[in-house]
Subunit: 442 residues, 4 copies
């Protein structure tokens, strides 16, 4: 049986389950949960795996669920298909959880439906008779970086070390036996076409900045105060003043917000807090920009004679999509969506923890259409269920066949060509090395 025939059989199996797969996607959409707290969604995944006869491990990095299916056509690499479980807080989203504010405004629900659909298709279509190696179906937690205070509390309580799902899974060894992996993210950008693969994504570092001055009566004794808001103000001015030194090709992003800008109008602010990311295309570029940003924030403290505490947290690594996998994906998808709807997407300046995986193994992170509105926006919605749910399932399944069919020749080719920049140990050491807390007295 050729790969093409096998894909056809698998696709037919997916189409037979269409209603069920779409139903799963919609059910998850209506049960949005924040990262590391995707309890109901994880249970749904586990139950679905169970119905398919798969024994899943759950509670991985708090909520991850993983089910392995070995191919019956010989040994070979392990290929993980991922679906992200989490939603994010989106003010005003019509299908937000009234308690938490969480909403699926990034389409992760379609990822999970696609992941489960791919499992159904490959199992129903009896694809594993023809595959070598192993397929790992992996629902992973907490891709969205947010809810930081809660996560930091978990970290302090020893329940987490890293604040993102894949870094945490990497730390715990749940990817140690995985050789290559992929996931498919939704896109609502018309310019991305129906599907396509980005060359790369920005990585990021996360920072919290706290200026401590001296509160004082703003009318009676401003001279007794040290204005922490003005220290932050100078810090912002300094960040803006160094922007011209960021190279275009590094696609640096520094975007502070002020989370506390003074307590009471008639008091000179004694404490002001900011948060920011420092993003960039490469680790080197991020670290270089981060150094400048730290210096800029220090300048705010120096200007006013205030103190600044800068907390730097590891974020996500830059992602590079494996070129061999990208070529295979293209070959799979052009016949499906048509040449004119397939896109070779360049570098993208958002961040994902798929970047962390890409540091230690070949990964693929295509985008799939079917959504409209703005990502993370209240108007985000999935409008083409066929493409978003079933198209994703089929694309994942097809890649499993391409990589693990023919004695896993495809996967072996990928692994041979790929040179992941870090070992798992190097990765962990690097991310741990990012974390630091600096106190500077201006």
């Amino acid at each position: 049986m050729t790969k093409a025939e096998l894909k056809q059989r698998v696709n037919a199996a997916i189409d037979r389950r269409a209603e069920e797969i779409i139903g799963l996607g919609e059910q998850i959409r209506k049960t949005p949960e924040l990262g590391f707290k995707e309890v109901k969604t994880a249970r749904l995944v586990e139950e679905t795996f169970g119905k398919l006869g798969l024994a899943a491990k759950s509670g991985l990095a708090l909520t991850g669920v993983r089910a392995d299916v070995p191919g019956r056509a010989g040994d070979g690499p392990s290929f993980a298909l991922l679906g992200e479980l989490d939603a994010l807080v989106v003010t005003g989203h019509p299908v937000a959880d009234p308690q938490t504010g969480a909403a699926h405004a990034c389409g992760h629900n379609a990822q999970v439906a696609g992941l489960l659909g791919a499992a159904m298709g490959l199992l129903d279509g009896q694809a594993f008779d023809h595959l070598a190696g192993r397929v790992v179906f992996f629902a992973v937690p907490a891709e969205e970086y947010g809810d930081v205070e809660w996560r930091v509390a978990q970290a302090r309580a020893g329940k987490l070390e890293f604040l993102g799902g894949k870094p945490e899974l990497l730390r715990l060894g749940h990817f140690d036996d995985v050789d290559l992996s992929m996931m498919i993210h939704m896109t609502s950008r018309p310019e991305d076409g129906k599907t396509g693969v980005p060359a790369s994504n920005n990585g990021c570092i996360v920072k919290t900045v706290r200026y401590v001055g001296k509160a004082s009566h703003a009318g009676g004794a401003p001279h007794m105060g040290v204005n922490a808001l003005y220290a932050a103000h100078i810090g912002l001015a300094a960040v803006n003043a160094i922007r011209e030194t960021f190279r275009d090709e590094d696609t640096i992003r520094v975007h502070p917000i002020i989370t506390h800008g003074g307590s009471q109008v008639n008091v000179i602010p004694g404490e002001v807090r900011l948060e920011t990311y420092v993003r960039g295309r490469t680790v080197e570029a991020i670290l270089d920009a981060n150094k400048k940003v730290d210096r800029a924030f220090r300048a705010g403290a120096l200007a006013l004679g205030a103190k600044v505490e800068i907390e730097t947290l590891p974020g996500y690594m830059p992602m590079t999509c494996d070129a061999t996998m990208a070529r295979m994906y293209r070959d799979n998808m052009v016949p499906v969506v048509g040449e004119e709807h397939y896109r070779q997407i360049g570098h993208r300046t958002g961040s994902t923890d798929m970047g962390d995986l890409s540091m230690v193994m070949p990964v693929l992170h295509p985008y799939m259409g079917g959504a409209t509105g703005s990502g993370h926006g209240a108007d985000y919605q999935i409008v083409d269920q066929q493409l978003a749910y079933l198209g994703t399932a089929k694309a994942l399944a097809a890649m499993a066949i391409d990589l693990l069919g023919d004695g896993a020749a495809g996967a072996r080719q990928v692994l041979k060509a790929a040179k992941p920049p870090m070992t798992r140990e190097q990765y962990l050491a690097f991310q741990r090395g990012i974390a630091r807390r600096e106190v500077y007295e201006g």
Copy 2:
């Protein structure tokens, strides 16, 4: 009976009630309530008036309580003795209300105790037999300018027009039959001595500023955003850039805080909000600075192509203490506290709505010691109960005797020399004229 003898009799009466007066002050200290919501405190005042045989009007400007006692020595002017009812939110104050955060960190509890003590002394000491005109004992609400959102909501509901107690009482006519008035404020500043009279106080205007930009993904599409935080940032820079044009003698204060500085770190802020006062020694100086401040805030919107909504609210008028009353107060107090502890205090740069009264009648606003810590601070406390509670009571009573004794010759002399700058109608028109809402599209 000479005034001196009468004062002695009244002071003796106050000393006999010392325990009760101190108890009232302490009780109020332990029941701190926010402005226009001083329900329990007002009830305590009303009940105390009742025990003294005085029929009080209550619920004036929501919570004010007033009891009038006519002198029996002929007609004459009405002299109001005031005590402010309200506390304010002070984070970390040991005697704060756990619900509201309110604490008596400005010593208003001593004002009210002093007011009630003065009534006791004058009544017990049978002073009214020797006074012409009338004494108005008036517990007034909401001197502290805060809790703005709640007050604005009351205003929208038609329950308030102005956001401060005395302006609101003025509006409602509760000072229409009052000719001159005084209150005594605590001070914790050692340089103020045991007591003294300031020449004047800054007035103020209150402003809220809302920048509206356009939210956008901070990593993926910052070019689609209009950064409201940076608009505010430029607004702050502009305010600082005009400070050199504020004249020393105008004692201008502009002290913005950022009350909302962005919603989420990975989103370019689409909305940022500030609050500020514009304070100054004279109405002209305040209006001049306010005009510059508006222009500066507009510049922030122009710089980024954002929108800014500037809401200007009437605050408190500059206060000038009546010179004749100040001289009388000095003559009263120097023998009590000693020349070396009496202070002629210059201009003070904080604000009080006693300034509003000073626009329409002669007022006196001395400071009395007995407190330590910083005003509005968590460490503020009354350490000399004799001075703070009883000293205040005696000083108020002595001024009533000085002004209304001898056929109210003193009060008549004050009124003859005084030229309040506005009529009540002019005052109301002026304050109403301050209120404006500007929307500027940058």
Copy 3:
């Protein structure tokens, strides 16, 4: 005779003249002259043309010199080989003109030597017997944008309209009969290899900004002043605040300097002046950024209540190198310098008025090594005379042969594939449309 044989003959001719060509390059290096004032250099070019038997037109756009040589192998397109005449002011350059400060710190002297060398080679090698169409040898003035006040004065006197050499030559019609053109610029960047062709260059707009406030005694009466320096300060802050909205791919550059920042320290500055460029990869991106920059500068005036006069001058258009010519150049040069020393250079963020030519005809603008130090720096020098002077001459000549040999088949192919974005009329109208002077009262 094949093109290859012809190139060999021409190269041999150039090598025979090596000493003379190098001598011309060195002579020009030692006679640096500013743009539109390259009198001696132009005379040297004219004389050299004369010795070669060519009748040149001179004084074109004040100092340009052009000599045409028709091919004798039939009609065909006109191909211009350009060399830029001008130097620029470089403080501290060891071979600077003591009067003007001008120095050849951009290697234009090698361009002219290369141009003359190419003419010698093509003539001595009797190449014109085998060329169709025409070669235009064109020494052009004023590529460096500087000396602005003098040029504006010339413009006011009617001697110039545009402030750059090629725009001015275009305006005067001196390129009307030219179909395609090329020049070779030196590079001192090791990463550019020995030679290579950039994909494109930024275009630019030039701006002068003048803030007018009100001078006042800085000690006695700062409140009477309107601080023009602070207006400029806010303008700079605003420019920095919008940088995050510049897209990486547009390679925007905005880099203001303050040319007058106050007259006397004890006077509040009443006038402050800035200059800046707005550069970008495309006309659209430049115009978009320019609009934001104007708004930012206006904000400075608004913040202080000052006036700002913004003068916008047409600069240089973005340049795109013709792909067909680039391929031909590569094929010519790889055998000469070796594959490993040839570079496909991406987008460059500097600007050149070769961009203006590229708007109306296919152009090629390769870089040639042989220099070290930083461009426009005091340490810039030509260290490989063979490559810089003779290599340039040979490369220009080879392209003439490639384009006009074989009945100008190459040139015809280029012209057929090329679609210049503008007609000459559209170009002139566009540049004239850029010029504007805005006065904004803050």
Copy 4:
């Protein structure tokens, strides 16, 4: 003979010389010279002294001229009458020196005419028969603080130590035998009336600030640069951010200008220079503000990773007019100009090196009307020659009579009551302690 009779005789003598005195004032007005270079003016003074039979010492602190006349009525204190010799650069002043730009836009010419007129009156009127002690007629150089580079060069050459005239004369001991002194400055401010005495004047410190970054091609390689202009920009923002901590009563003035803001628009500025004063009412306030200003300028360097060199130079000390002398001046002048034209002027926020004298002896520094326009402005002119020239002469002479008549009882009274805050040694040590050069690497 009473003092009144003596003053009358002296005044009559001055009136007889009116034409000559006015002529001297006008002659000096037309020969404006910069500080320490008042060669012609000094010679005129010396010659005039010579004609009066006085032996003058000249060349004091380069150009000062001093002539002593002992009273013949006994021993007593030395009282110096001063006139300042220097003009200042005023762009566009109609009577400016075409070479130097110097103009008498501060009325110093009237001071010198008044000084010479007083000498004539006292000598012609034979006042010295009735005076004890000694009158020192002293024409002093360089009150205006400017022309800094030239003066620094003189300092480096060992010809000066301090950059102002009176500090330098103090250093050289030329005031060691003077006990008290006065001068009369012109005023063009209508609010100053015809004459009056200020309570005090701001002192100042002078600073030059040099930011050193790294120049780089602004289009091609802004990431290689360190923008010194942006470092300065942040420094200015920081200075503005601390203004709210300057106390009103300290009348702080910080007013930077940028003297070099970048060399060429297409180069990231590698060096930027500023100048500023830090002025204030008291030495303590100046030093406190200066410390904050240094910190603010350092923050600019830190923000960009630039270097800043801060040079702090001693300026002028705060001036306090002696109260006893002020009372005597008032008693002298009210009968002359009328009560309604005499002004008790409060604190003035400009600076003068008369402040330096006031640190070590009682001084008087009244203002005299007769001028219009703005001080240091192109429109400044003397419009009442009687008041400016003759009125000044008479006022100086009258004070000499008041202080040194009656056996110098007046002067003795002044000296007894006065407590100058420093000895000459302390003064010199203090000013020398101000000078410092700090280099901060950001």
